[in-house]
Subunit: 321 residues, 2 copies
Amino acid sequence: MPVDEFGLIKRYFSACGTGTSDTLLGVGDDCALLAPPAGEVLAVTTDTLLAGVHFPNDSPARLIGLRALAVNLSDMAAMGATPRWFQLALTLPDADQDWLAEFSAGLNSMARDYNCALVGGDTTRGPLTISITLIGTVPPGKALKRSGAKPGDTIFVSGTLGDGAGGLAVLEGRLPVDTGAATYLQERFWQPQARVTEGLAISSFASAAIDISDGLLADLGHIVAASQVGASIEVDHLPLSQVLRGAAGVERSYQWALRGGDDYELCFTVPANGLAQCQRLIDEGVLNATAIGLVDQGQGVRCVDSRGDFLDTRDSGYQHF
Amino acid sequence: MPVDEFGLIKRYFSACGTGTSDTLLGVGDDCALLAPPAGEVLAVTTDTLLAGVHFPNDSPARLIGLRALAVNLSDMAAMGATPRWFQLALTLPDADQDWLAEFSAGLNSMARDYNCALVGGDTTRGPLTISITLIGTVPPGKALKRSGAKPGDTIFVSGTLGDGAGGLAVLEGRLPVDTGAATYLQERFWQPQARVTEGLAISSFASAAIDISDGLLADLGHIVAASQVGASIEVDHLPLSQVLRGAAGVERSYQWALRGGDDYELCFTVPANGLAQCQRLIDEGVLNATAIGLVDQGQGVRCVDSRGDFLDTRDSGYQHF
């Protein structure tokens, strides 16, 4: 029996993350109908993943499902917004039932973890492409923009950096590691933990935020460009995982932390009057974050090493074209 | 100079349809920030177009831009909702400046016509794919669902049917026509006029609605399935354009009207107590619509010809898989 487009959508995706009371009508009509909390502002983001570009061909379908939603959740986190609903545009080479079951299981699991619901989308035939548009909400005036950084603000990053690039290197056979390190790093690549809780926690005092998808230099570069400021970061302060440091060595770990991308940690700036509150969240274990530098009146992002020497940062981040 | 992802988005899309006061933050941050009208419900839809699947390869970029937004606007129309903002997920084989200029001009023009704003998205490298997620709003309880049709309701369609399939046949060289007919039919394919005004006009009395993208039989089939009713339509009553009838002949025109797809007209049902209001809108020229049949207690969609004979309707509509 041929599986039609509508059958596909119904069978694998209609139960995904549903049951939230603010979804009036989910998958299956011309539009989804959604009731946002009264008075809140919508936050909307779209991220597309292509096989062979954003993840290796023939990757496990469940992991693709997990990652496709996680990268969007990370954008929501960087805005200090609460994720609520998403639309899935799925292009598939064929209607492989096993693939769909695994993919939707991964997607479903990530949706449950972050309490958001798949409410619609489109399925088409072609090279494997997953494009998700995620809709969240945030109280008026509370969203964390890229443009709010001011000279004197302290720059923080959440978690550890470079693990995403390390995980991709393991997947692609470029980094020989033991089983434990391979598991940790690949999981960091496939299942980035979107820092939604952290984004909400810092939204009362941070002046700007972005998620690190293209590498710290590139993404912090977006903050300083949007805020019309400069930044200097102390490379020795960049938080690295023990696993990455052990597997890739210090030099390569710092390179990946600066330029690797795929970390999906938050980079945010905190004015002087927010530092005490930020430190309290860190001390309480609510926020895992490290101060790595300062916003200044310069231009661009400058890196300083332990001897105070400037490092060349011209080659910054990942470009699609 | 290589054009990077961010440069691309900025140069061609940041001005597209902006200027609506309800867009607090558009293209260029982690999320767009949008202020929906107080108390309204969100209506959200996603449609993906692939080169070689949904339109011929090497089609003019401006027309692709027009059509990509139009098909989403049509879903919004079918819900009786007002389109407001959209996200664009654009996958391109390369960063062709001319192509981008033409594509964004088409998109921009359609966005202006329907007063909606491009607020974000993602650009990636790969086979040409355009996926748009359109967000609109509708007062609570006013949305037109597929599931509201009741036995005794009259079935209407807007405009004329079959022109979309005729236009595609002209594009693909399957229908020899004169220049005037070619222009009309191709425009009907490339620039479907989403019936947003009509959708809003009928929302106070229609019981169910859908837009005709996959063919009348398939799409009316969705209404009767969702509403758990049946329908019979009188084929002779299907509205055909003079151009299509002249170019394709009566028999083929009716086939395309029933099964062709790509028309993006509305199919809607009206209970007895709404018929006078519907007729008034038709008489006033606000609504161009034709009664084509009745909802009944049966199952599926049955077609009757002028002699009252039943027609075989097993082969219904367009399937991607």
